[in-house]
Amino acid sequence: MSTPLIEMDNIEKHFGPVIALGGVSFNVMEGECHCLLGDNGAGKSTFIKTMSGVHKPTKGVMRVSGQDVAFSSPRDAMEAGIATVYQDLAMIPLMSVTRNFWMGREPRKSFGPFKWIDFKHANKVTMDEMSSMGINLREPEQAVGTLSGGERQTVAIARAVHFGAKVLILDEPTSALGVRQTSNVLATIDRVRKSGIGVIFITHNVRHAMAVGDRFTVLNRGQTHGTAKRGEIKPEELQDMMAGGQELAQLEGSLGGTV
């Protein structure tokens, strides 16, 4: 087995009295889509924020390509090839698509001590990348606020892929999306994975996970409930694991099958 692209070893994270993560281990390999599932408040977002340098872990070791690392800011994580598409999107509605796309890594030209953004290049790349994701923008100066939810999600993913991410983290990219948009996003994940990038895909929805995941890890109240490979587990089992196996059972009857 090759070294994982990213490896989290027994990560703990406390917020004052709240223990959001109580020792979680996790890794993702090249070209793999590893799904992270769990109930509300299970700690999924906290976990991937730790991975992408937003939070510092209270305890535990992170390794990128086998090397120990400690990120002090999201920038560090990005430099290390970890790109994240957050649940709350991290797009700024009043700014143009291009500016959002390049945010934090603007391409620059310089003349002597002066440096400025190379807008021509930036616009072109943005248009190209977006159309390669199947979205035709009216113009790159369009404000992100005028895009639909699915389109925004795609901008965020395109941005991450473009900047040569080795690992792409997606936090519930599908929860607010319609069917068509959802299948678009899932198809994009599939495409990205096939290009050799490791994908971490967070969702509540077992079916979305089953559709693209290679491995599945369930978090519950800050603890891992184990990892399973594709084909080794049935959707119903996964769902039981997420819900903790209790309570839910009695509803199943009246509601029929997986929710």
């Binding site: 991290a90 009043l94 953004i117």
Partner: protein, 365 residues
């Protein structure tokens, strides 16, 4: 995935709807208005132009700082107090302590920018609204200014800076004029009026472009370039638009905001220094209510009070409108107390117009 339910907007309309559109229209309106009612009062003679030009330049200097800060999502009510403070620091250091002017000026810049940084630091560390933190500094700085100047000189006005500034290199940078030769020539060929008697007979009434105006232009150009063309400008927008989102993609939001507070302090100090160098004295009451005036210019110029949206050019036009209206009313001989009524009216009118324009741009509802 474009939506057939939304009508396409025409190219002209798209080119027109930009943050500063409101301010551009406003500027045209204001000039037309004053041409009509005060065209023959000397308002558009060389001397008159210099008059409102200088006033507008003053507003522009502080408006540029306030604009960038506002776009970065914060604002600063301590600008006015900072102006008074900076002036008094320069005067005390140079006149009372006998330091050379250039050193005093540099010291004032350092102190004020440090206070700006402190403002920013407090806002960021405590997570408090900048309204509160800078309101506190509005009081603290004004109090310190009065106390310092009374403590050291038993007065609230400190004169004698002009004498101390003779031949100082930095002093010229803030208080001098440029293009003297050009203006002398313009005077000689009769384009500009000349003095007809007295010790300065033959000299043109306007003897050059004051450094104040040069500073204003410089700052506006710099601010505009910074905001629209550079990476840092992108970060300013981002910090004001959604600080959390910006942080997630690796924008150093805290640094951006603190730097913008410092830049605002810088602009206030430029304002103060120019004033001290021009008039040769500093007083504890300088800059009263300037914070509001700066904010008004910026808002007239189309920026969003809540950050993330705006334009330096707009703010500069806002300053121009403000200056022209203020001085123009004098030229037109209007009752001066009505100036404030006008100002309030213009403010509301401009903001409503800008809101409308912004909605068109962003599709916001």
């Amino acid at each position: 995935m474009s939506d057939e339910r939304i009508k396409q907007v025409s190219a002209i309309r798209r080119a027109m709807i930009r943050p500063e559109l409101g301010a551009i229209c406003g500027t045209i309106l204001v000039f037309v208005f004053f041409f009509m009612i005060a065209g023959d009062s000397g308002m558009f003679s060389a001397e008159g132009v210099q008059n409102w030009g200088v006033v507008s330049a003053q507003f522009a200097i502080i408006a540029v700082g306030a604009c960038l800060l506002m776009i970065a999502g914060e604002f600063d009510l301590s600008v006015g107090s900072m102006i008074g403070f900076a002036g008094v620091v320069i005067a005390i250091l140079s006149v009372q302590w006998g330091l050379p002017i250039w050193l005093s000026i540099i010291a004032a810049f350092v102190v004020c920018m440090a206070i700006g940084a402190l403002n920013g630091f407090l806002v960021i560390k405590t997570g408090l609204p900048s309204f509160i933190v800078t309101l506190a500094f509005l009081y603290i700085l004004r109090g310190l200014t009065i106390w310092l100047s009374i403590l050291t000189t038993r007065q609230t006005i400190i004169g004698g800076v002009k004498e101390a500034a003779e031949g100082d290199p930095l002093a010229w940078l803030f208080g001098g004029v440029i293009f003297k030769g050009l203006f002398q020539w313009l005077g000689d060929i009769g384009v500009i009026e000349t003095f007809t008697r007295g010790s300065r007979m033959g000299q043109p009434v306007v003897d050059g472009i004051p450094m104040l105006v040069v500073w204003a232009l410089g700052l506006v150009i710099f601010g505009h370039w910074l905001l629209t063309k550079t990476r840092f400008g992108n970060w300013i927008f981002a910090s004001g638009g959604d600080a959390q989102a910006a942080r997630y993609v690796g924008v150093p939001v805290n640094r951006v905001k603190i730097l913008m507070f410092m830049f605002t302090a810088f602009c206030a100090t430029v304002f103060a220094t120019c004033q001290v160098m021009e008039f040769g004295s500093a007083a504890a009451d300088r800059g009263l209510l300037k914070e509001f005036e700066a904010i008004i210019c910026v808002v007239i110029g189309g920026a969003l009070l809540t950050g993330g949206y705006g334009s330096v050019i707009g703010a500069a036009l806002g300053a121009l409108i403000f200056g022209v209206v203020q001085q123009g009313l004098f030229f037109a001989g209007a009752e001066s107390s009505l100036f404030r009524v006008f100002l309030g009216g213009i403010l509301i009118f401009a903001v409503i117009m800008n809101t409308y324009i912004r909605r068109m741009i962003t599709g916001e509802r």
